[in-house]
Symmetry: C2
Subunit: 275 residues, 2 copies
Amino acid sequence: MRDDAAVTVAVCQLAPVLGDVEGNVARALAAVAGAAAAGARLVVLPELVSSGYAFSGPDELARCAEPPGGPTVTRLAAAARAHGAVVVAGFPELADGGEMCNSAVLADPSGVRAVYRKAHLWDREKALFTAGSAPPAVVDTGVGRVGVMVCYDLRFPEWLRLATLDGAEIVCAPANWPAEPRTAGERPVEVVRLQASASVNHVYVAAADRVGRERGVDWVGGSAIVAPDGYPLAVADPARGEQLLTAECRPAAARDKRVSPHNDVLADRRLDLYG
Amino acid sequence: MRDDAAVTVAVCQLAPVLGDVEGNVARALAAVAGAAAAGARLVVLPELVSSGYAFSGPDELARCAEPPGGPTVTRLAAAARAHGAVVVAGFPELADGGEMCNSAVLADPSGVRAVYRKAHLWDREKALFTAGSAPPAVVDTGVGRVGVMVCYDLRFPEWLRLATLDGAEIVCAPANWPAEPRTAGERPVEVVRLQASASVNHVYVAAADRVGRERGVDWVGGSAIVAPDGYPLAVADPARGEQLLTAECRPAAARDKRVSPHNDVLADRRLDLYG
């Protein structure tokens, strides 16, 4: 990739239907096709996009879980190849030992490049999933060096810092943010955290949230693509449901950590004092 | 303090005049009196409130720098005693060895409790000040456990995390945020970072920024008091200059790190993976 090249990044805010894996994957593939038609070469889909989220228990989850070699990931990877794009999407992973993980795949035209397992589990996920035991995935792709994490992972500044230190230029985060009380007129704090994460690390952040009420759970619908300066390039319209966001990103801008003539957000860290 | 007691916190957004220490301190004391009259028991003033910021060089700075035993800190501590309040304010410190630090004092009715030296220096400050070599100050006071850091320190999530791990319930940050380009209609990213910092640590954050053009430098005027959920309780009106913000805070709320029935923002950290 040319050093100053721009790439169109897309975030697809979708409404998966709980348990309808076949239908969800079909809708996800249609969303990838739509994003590619809009010029996107990196497409981010929500957490657990193949399954939905509000499982009644482990049995219902198990009926949706698949290994990385299963049809969901295989079809997403085929879409990445067909469209010449990088695709990041969440799915419930059936791991070798039989445990289930809240995972995200990164596929590019060459195939599956990474399967990342969410390391910080939210609420009832702790009773359903096994937490990941590896750092964020960070992968060199044709559109720059791309990091992957999932939803509640973003709440831990340590995690996006790790991805940044590993060279991530665009951090992709499939998410399912349950709606919580918020002050009227305020942008959701989930989006605010994305902005701050981008800013303090001087990276792009692209998060795909979901919509569609599920067993009494509503969602923030807070998908966004944020620039390294912390300002959104695209942010979901709360009045709409499913939507496609796109933005031009220049990964090279995220490699430059200077924020003033004498400041660099990584070099200025006081590692001697952080303990 | 009763465990669920509320305390009124004030942030005074002021316009110091470069080099006018006598006048600046008089205005700072008047601001503390005004905040106390509004019921405040914790009052935060801007960074370098006694001196202004845009020094031509070390000589001009040296004319404003004082030891913690000097008149500026002595008068601020007297105001804390007179008003029965905790006062946090920035000043240029002349240290024992003759070096100068961008410091903040925390004084309560018993006197000076802490002098914190900014550890992350912004831009030309690197040519003027010696960086601090200690973690954020965190002090038990009559209004809760109060943390102190200064301006660019806030850009490092590691720093507010350290203060949180040391038990800070309300983190006070004197600031001088130079105005930078921002997307029209967007809240300043400096305030966005405060919100995220509060949210990921589940603490209150109270930052006092400045206004008043100085040698071509304009300021964000982004003072704010943020709740542990990341939503502002009070935020400066960009259409106004000097202003007093107040909010009711309940320090006990910041001691409880639970954010769902099964999540705790400190206990959920994956220290095994942060390296």
